[in-house]
Symmetry: C2
Subunit: 446 residues, 2 copies
């Protein structure tokens, strides 16, 4: 064993020992919450999810110290709608959003939406967002500061919505333009530094840090220290820089003695942009990518760390989602869910504690775009009512409905509707009930 | 942290501490060598390689305590030829083998081949093989005991070569029939028990244990304790039983204080049998499977553990192979390579120690069947001269040559021969030189 390894293990013990013998049942009250949110990262793009040439030692270690999810979904296969789902706990259809907003879009997140940041502020949290917002154009009312965040630094929408096709893009600090068309190769480092500063300034009170990275969305801009370093090419460079950033955040928490009181959750908004060739990511063994309700579009790498609550090296195969992360975060902070609207997520905090009795599936419905319900999942079964692919490809000759067993067939290769007509019937009924329910509830903010 | 986790970490420290401060440069002389060899396991089929529904806690932990390889190749995309390569360190073309032998085959491993077991016996090792042999029919001269092994228990060929299509299959002990048509659901447990017994009987002298599991080759027969347990179905059941078996071996080594003196290496003979539907495995993000020289056919999960020599949690991205494992095993035992024949493998022991200067690639040539050279790899580049798929599918419309960069494009999706004609030329030259060399060397045992 190398001296490095020896000291790593000692370090791990020092970090974890004060919490022994934790039983995972009594997490600290009002823990800090950190959500590290990638853009277009694929299910297969991290070492711990099987990528052969992208090095992600910090995320691999985060999984070793925490929990790796293998059935975790984002709320949409596209950017705006997915961020909406994470921050409101609701299916994107509740907002009526077009699935990606543009710089000129008139719409944005409705002032009466209840965001995760607004909820956590009620419980005394300091809140910050550093990165891509994308829940409205640059209109003041749509920006983070008017939606629950105390601090903001970032691009308000996607990093490819830039001149010459689009107007100048502003790097905002709070509501104000800090720079126009900033050097994108500095973004990951700047967001990371803002995160470090925020943590240090708030170590004595509960805080919520939301860090939606600009990368690995195209155009890919690695920092100077990472450019040309990954065997995987530029895509690998930007993912390895994100891995570094995660490492910086975890290291700071450890150094400041905050780890035992901080839930850190890492995931992505949607699957990889596979039509972009080598500049797009990989969904691993899952089918298709971003912009599709096949698994590759919405199932995400997801890793949680919380020493003393989450057992090291845990594997979580239960179906869960960003909508459920919203509910868990409020619950951990002691904030009641708003009673005046529908929240679609189900609390995932029992999953974090490894409790076995959790049976309520999160995010059974797969929406494509704002209104189209494309698929439903119950237990192992997934039924596609409509299908779409980013590549334009019609798998299974475009026939629907299509039934798959995602446990025995995670790659959605073996279509089973003919063999299990009763399952098809049962899932079709779920779809109808859900559609009627959504129509009746009618609690949209548009 | 749970009490379990706490004691696991303490256990890990107890196991590793005696070797601190190992510098990885002076491995023990004549270490025990254990090769755990699956049949048709895919690159994507273990937790640590990204499978979402197969639980492999022992293999995941083996990787955490040891080294995970991401560019490790078997010697052939088919069974007999791959086992030949592992046990002789030579490309299958050196043997002239048909790539799979059948019960009625007249041929088998040539008496003058120099096997890994024969080499290690020269150094005083006790040697055992428990599992699938497949280097000849049941003719005595081809069996393990006549090829360097002191002990044997197993089926002499594939578990699907059974009545009524084939004659009765014998479970052999040594050269003798122990049972005809044994209950296959007991095989993994029986091989594991034989392995435990062998280790216990030989703990005071160097030993070589070769454990070629019958599974997950079809027909799938999980043991009673595993049947119906995996979310992945029967395929998952048999892989989870192999994971259990690996855990049993590692646990025994730890209990007996043998771990620091034992290199354990886990891999598979070839990629997954993808045409078998849900009963076949997954190559993860790699293309195709068994019976093909696309990456899915020959790149394998590979995990090595050797506390005190291999740093815990190591990631090995260098290209290496079972042919190189042959060379490393002899080198570690202090046995010179035979001077009277060509050995194609290159020593991978520097890779185990994490040495950076290793630059000699292992297994640059991909053979399909006995004679056909299909592809060559140099650095990131792979050139397909011919292609074949188990599914009969002609990717890229069957055009050749096809050039891929496996580092930036591990899934072999983006064909680059038009963009890099000079690389194509260089690799074609390598192919020609290799073909001439093999023809001149002419050291075949047929």
């Amino acid at each position: 064993m190398s001296p490095f390894t020896f000291f790593f293990i000692i370090q791990l013990l020092i970090t974890l020992l004060p919490h022994y013998p934790g039983n995972g049942l009594s997490p600290p009250a009002k823990p800090n919450i950190i959500i590290l949110f990638c853009d277009d990262l694929g299910y297969g793009d991290l070492g711990v999810y099987g990528h052969p040439t992208i090095r992600t030692p910090n995320l691999d270690r985060m999984a070793a110290e925490g929990m790796k999810f293998t059935n975790f979904y984002s709320g949409s296969p596209a950017c705006t709608a997915s961020r909406y789902a994470l921050l409101t706990g609701r299916y994107p259809i509740r907002s009526g959003f077009s699935w990606v907003l543009y710089p000129g879009s008139e719409r944005g997140i409705h002032p009466e939406e209840f965001t995760l940041a607004e909820g956590l502020k009620q419980a005394g949290y300091r809140t910050a967002c550093f990165g891509k917002w994308h829940l409205g154009s640059t209109k003041r009312e749509f920006l983070p500061l008017q939606n629950g965040f105390d601090e903001y630094l970032g691009l308000p929408y996607s990093n490819d919505m830039i001149p010459p096709k689009h107007p100048d893009i502003a790097l905002l600090r709070g509501n104000d333009t800090l720079e126009l068309n900033p050097d994108q190769s500095l973004l990951t480092a700047r967001y990371t530094e803002a995160a470090r500063s925020f943590i240090l300034r708030n170590k004595d009170n509960p805080f919520f840090l939301y860090l939606p990275y600009a990368m690995p969305h195209l155009p890919l801009h690695p920092g100077e220290a990472f450019a040309g370093k990954s065997a995987r090419g530029t895509y690998g460079d930007v993912v390895e820089e994100i891995d570094w950033s995660v490492g910086e955040v975890l290291k700071l928490l450890d150094e400041q003695g905050l780890s035992a009181n901080t839930l850190v959750f890492f995931t992505s908004d949607n699957g990889p942009w596979i039509i972009k060739g080598e500049e797009g990511g990989s969904a691993g063994l899952l089918r298709d990518g971003k912009g599709s309700t096949w698994e590759g579009g919405m199932r995400e790498p997801a890793i949680a760390r919380w020493p003393g609550v989450i057992a090291p090296g845990s594997l979580q195969m239960e179906q869960s989602s960003t909508l459920g992360l919203f509910v868990a975060a409020l619950k951990l902070a002691g904030v009641p869910l708003p009673a005046d609207r529908v929240i679609d997520g189900k609390d995932i905090s029992p999953l974090l504690r490894g409790e076995k009795e959790h049976t309520v599936a999160n995010m059974p419905f797969f929406y494509y775009g704002p209104h189209e319900l494309h698929a439903v999942r119950q237990g192992p079964w997934k039924l596609h009512i409509k299908t779409s692919s980013q590549t334009g490809k019609q798998y299974f000759e475009g026939k629907t409905p299509l039934l798959f067993n995602l446990e025995t067939d995670p790659s959605e290769q073996y279509e089973l509707s003919g063999q299990y007509p009763e399952v098809v019937g049962q899932l079709m009924k779920l779809v109808e009930t859900h559609k009627e329910k959504v129509e009746q509830e009618g609690t949209f903010y548009r």
